[in-house]
């Protein structure tokens, strides 16, 4: 086994495998760093910016920065938590999120983060962008109103030949997710299910069966997001 790298998060002594990112190492050490675009075992995107931490006074995304020996990471501090709430608020105003009517409510990571940080109402005025849903596929329904452009689906959902089913289109505030209809035509039910689960919000829905558990019994209805992490302290 290779040497572990010693570092700290908010003063707590932690150990990382060589090459591990701050976020992965934090999880292994029972420290929760909030994130949205991060997906285990998939190349990090570093795009939602919620996992921002501070190292030597500089802001860095924990999901993309490898741990270095002796690093002193700041995570659960007012400045960063304030920034995180504001990012969550930006995600709310830049989309059209009607939680009570959403199939993913209770299983949605964006909603769960808003609860965690007790966001009441975004400080930013709503932008009410016009977003077109895509219902042209047999298996999947894409509701772009809810998409937070985290790239999880792009990075993780591929066909057998490794081609991506999803990709970005346009740029800037017109950035949108698009589904390759031809490739998605004959995907298995399992892959469709997986795509829906990979999406942190309710943007990718499997047609005909939007949800199984009733509201009130879902993942984040019972416990706050990230609250399971602290229990694994070694």
């Amino acid at each position: 086994m290779s040497e572990k790298i010693k570092f700290t998060i908010d003063g707590k002594e932690c150990y990382a495998e060589p090459g591990q990112t701050i976020l992965e190492a934090a999880l292994d050490n029972g420290v929760y760093i909030p994130s949205l675009c991060y997906l285990k075992d998939v190349i990090p995107a570093g795009s939602c910016r919620i996992c921002n931490v501070k190292v030597a006074g500089r802001f860095m995304t924990a999901c993309t920065t490898p741990v270095a020996m002796g690093m002193e990471v700041e995570n659960d501090i007012p400045e960063l938590n304030e920034l995180r709430v504001s990012i969550i608020e930006m995600l709310f105003v830049s989309g059209n999120h009607f939680c009570p009517a959403c199939e993913k409510s209770g299983n949605c990571e964006l909603q769960a983060l808003a609860y965690k940080y007790t966001m009441m109402v975004p400080r930013y005025p709503y932008l009410f962008p016009e977003k077109k849903p895509d219902s042209g596929n047999k298996k999947l329904f894409i509701d772009r109103n809810r998409c937070i452009l985290c790239k999880r689906c792009i990075r993780a959902v591929k066909d057998e030949q490794g081609r991506s089913l999803f990709a970005f289109k346009n740029r800037g505030n017109e950035l949108a997710i698009s589904l390759d209809h031809e490739l998605a035509e004959n995907i298995s039910d399992e892959l469709a299910e997986e795509a829906m689960e990979i999406c942190p919000v309710g943007s990718i829905l499997k047609k005909e069966k939007g949800f199984q558990q009733p509201i009130g019994h879902r993942k984040f209805d019972k416990q706050a997001i990230g609250s399971d992490i602290k229990s694994v302290i070694k």
Binding site: A45, C48, R163, L165, A167, K169, N170, G172
Partner: protein
């Protein structure tokens, strides 16, 4: 059509990494990239359709639908507006009979806008089928449109050519160099090969230490020490490495690279060869912004000539050990591709999304090989440093900024153009040189940097005081600083963000709406606090320099011109929702045919 596409793809070796070139070539042949062609490309390259589309839809100059036999891209930058773009645009619409953003019914003329095309010293300007038209007036527009109606060739619409190489056979552009002041480094006597000859007499390590000793810092904006960057790359010690020259020149208000590319291309290429020798690279790539496509054929002829003279090629200057070649990579219209890692992504045929760092390009750059990216002006300096020695170089400039700097001066002044000045020159002195008076503000370093007022005109252009990649926009007393300048810059960043980061994708629009609220008389004190507080988040939570600086137009005017904002807000109330019922119901009232009863 299928055959044309197939041939182009084959010519590019069926390589998806060459997607930019493939798309550009298809467009040159077929006018635009249709859905059918997109499908065929996906098939031939073995990728999904959406993968082709993600690149295709990212760049401003790629077209997924016809944009007219004659496609006009009228520059919409701040200085274009200052020089009368509004009248020119109106003339285009009137003469052509269609609005901007659309194509005439017969498909002949398409009118579109584009951000800064590097002609700030001769605005209003437009690109028509890739050719540059400068100093436009409504009268000229009438002539141009009538030419288009009559099927005239675009080349034949150019009445007179600019100075220097602009008039040469392979360029034939009406662009003027406007070199207003020559200095002792860049715009000085030069014969190709002088720097390279000196370099090849030294070891690569010695070349690097010479550049380090010169204290040369990057001219692209960030000011990173050039020698150090090279040393990092050499240390990566890999079989294959690359040299990239950044000629994307996207920062509104800069046009110095345009002049270097036109008059001193040998100097740029020689600088690339020297850096290749220093880091042990055999291949160089010049990333050229699409707006400068009119220089491409000429630049390729220069490369050929340098091959013939053995300044490039397998055995440079007949040495056994050093060979170096250069290819040109065209961009397709995206400011963010000037950011070095986005430039690499783009060169690999992808969307121009900046990468996460680490790893840095010196470790893992183009196609994962160690890569240095240097600004074209930086590389030109290198040649002169090698020729004259680092000691000579450090005598020039200020304490922390050695050498000279090319400044692109534009806006409200008598003599817009490129000035080679020593670092440490005062803002005031540049204003004098440019013949500017009654000045309200100067935007130093482009929209991403700082807007300063007369109180700061004694400050110096230098890394230690006011750093600049070269943009220097003079804003006269009569201009509306918030309504025209700040708003234009915000629009620019909104249009040019790659969209990856939540904050960069969202915040500029929020700020712009807030400014609109203030400009329409609904602003209150709290709005100014919000602008400050919200704008400051951009620096903290974005991946690249674009997002980190995109709030600067607001933040720096709030800092230096706060009284202008104070003068616009309501002092009688603490709160104004900004909601205007009358305008909110205009659409619905129109729809049902009644007047609002408020």
């Amino acid at each position: 059509m299928r055959n044309t596409v197939q041939k182009i793809v084959q010519k590019a070796g069926n390589d998806r990494g060459r997607l930019m070139d493939i798309l550009l070539e298809i467009q040159a042949e077929l006018g635009y990239v249709s859905g059918e062609v997109t499908d065929q490309l996906a098939e031939e390259l073995g990728i999904s359709r959406v993968d082709v589309e993600q690149t295709l839809s990212f760049y401003h100059f790629f077209r997924q639908e016809p944009r007219g036999e004659y496609t006009v891209y009228l520059n919409n930058s701040l200085v274009a507006n200052m020089m009368g773009r509004v009248e020119v645009a109106a003339a285009f619409e009137k003469e052509a009979g269609c609005k901007f953003g659309s194509v005439t019914e017969d498909g002949r003329i398409g009118l579109f806008e584009t951000a800064d095309i590097g002609m700030n010293d001769q605005e209003p300007a437009a690109l028509i089928n890739g050719k540059v038209f400068t100093n436009l007036t409504p009268l000229v527009v009438r002539e141009l449109v009538s030419g288009m109606r009559n099927g005239k060739k675009v080349e034949d619409m150019i009445r007179n050519y600019g100075d220097g190489k602009n008039g040469s056979d392979l360029v034939r552009a009406m662009v003027h160099n406007n070199i207003k002041q020559k200095g002792s480094v860049l715009f000085s006597a030069y014969s190709p090969g002088e720097g390279l000859t000196k370099a090849l007499q030294m070891s690569p390590e010695k070349v690097i230490s010479e550049v380090k000793d010169s204290y040369l810092r990057g001219r692209g904006g960030a000011g990173f020490p050039t020698g150090l960057k090279w040393e990092f790359c050499r240390r990566a010690n890999k079989e294959v490495s690359y040299v990239f020259c950044n000629a994307d020149e996207g920062e509104p208000g800069t046009f110095k690279e345009r002049v270097l590319l036109t008059e001193y291309p040998h100097l740029i290429f020689e600088g690339m060869a020297i850096s290749g020798y220093a880091i042990g690279a055999k291949h160089g790539v010049l990333y050229l912004r699409n707006e400068y496509d009119y220089l491409k054929a000429y630049l390729e002829s220069v490369l050929e000539e340098m091959h013939e003279k053995k300044l490039l090629g397998d055995r440079i200057l007949d040495t056994e050990e050093f060979g170096f070649d250069i290819r040109i990579q065209m961009g397709a219209g995206a400011y963010v591709c000037g950011e070095e890692s986005a430039l690499l992504e783009s060169s690999e045929g992808k969307r121009g999304e900046p990468r996460n760092r680490p790893p840095f390009p010196v470790e893992k750059g183009y196609m994962d090989h160690p890569t240095i990216i240097n600004n074209a002006e930086t590389l030109c300096n290198v040649v002169k440093i090698l020729k004259n020695g680092s000691e000579w170089y450090t005598m020039l400039g200020s304490q922390e900024s050695a050498g000279t700097k090319l400044i692109s001066v534009s806006g409200d002044c008598k003599y817009p153009g490129v000035y080679e000045v020593e670092w440490g020159i005062r803002v005031k002195d540049i204003l004098d040189l440019a013949g500017a008076s009654n000045i309200q503000a100067v935007q130093v370093g482009g929209p991403s940097a700082e807007c300063i007022g007369p109180a700061d005109f004694n400050r110096t252009i230098s890394f230690e005081d006011l750093p600049t990649g070269g943009s220097f926009i003079i804003i006269g007393n009569k201009r509306d600083l918030i309504g025209d300048v700040v708003t234009n810059f915000l629009d620019f960043f909104i249009e040019e963000s790659c969209g990856s980061c939540t904050v960069c994708r969202t915040m500029p629009t929020i700020l712009k709406n807030k400014i609109a609220k203030i400009l329409t008389g609904h602003g209150v004190q709290q709005d100014l606090e919000d602008l400050q507080d919200w704008g400051s988040k951009m620096k903290m939570a974005n991946r690249c320099g674009l997002g980190q600086t995109a709030a600067n137009p607001v933040l720096s005017t709030l800092k230096n011109f706060r009284e202008k904002y104070e003068g616009l807000i309501r002092k009688d109330v603490d709160f104004d929702s900004g909601f205007d019922l009358a305008s909110a119901v205009v659409d619905s009232c129109e729809h049902v045919g009644r007047t609002p009863n408020l």
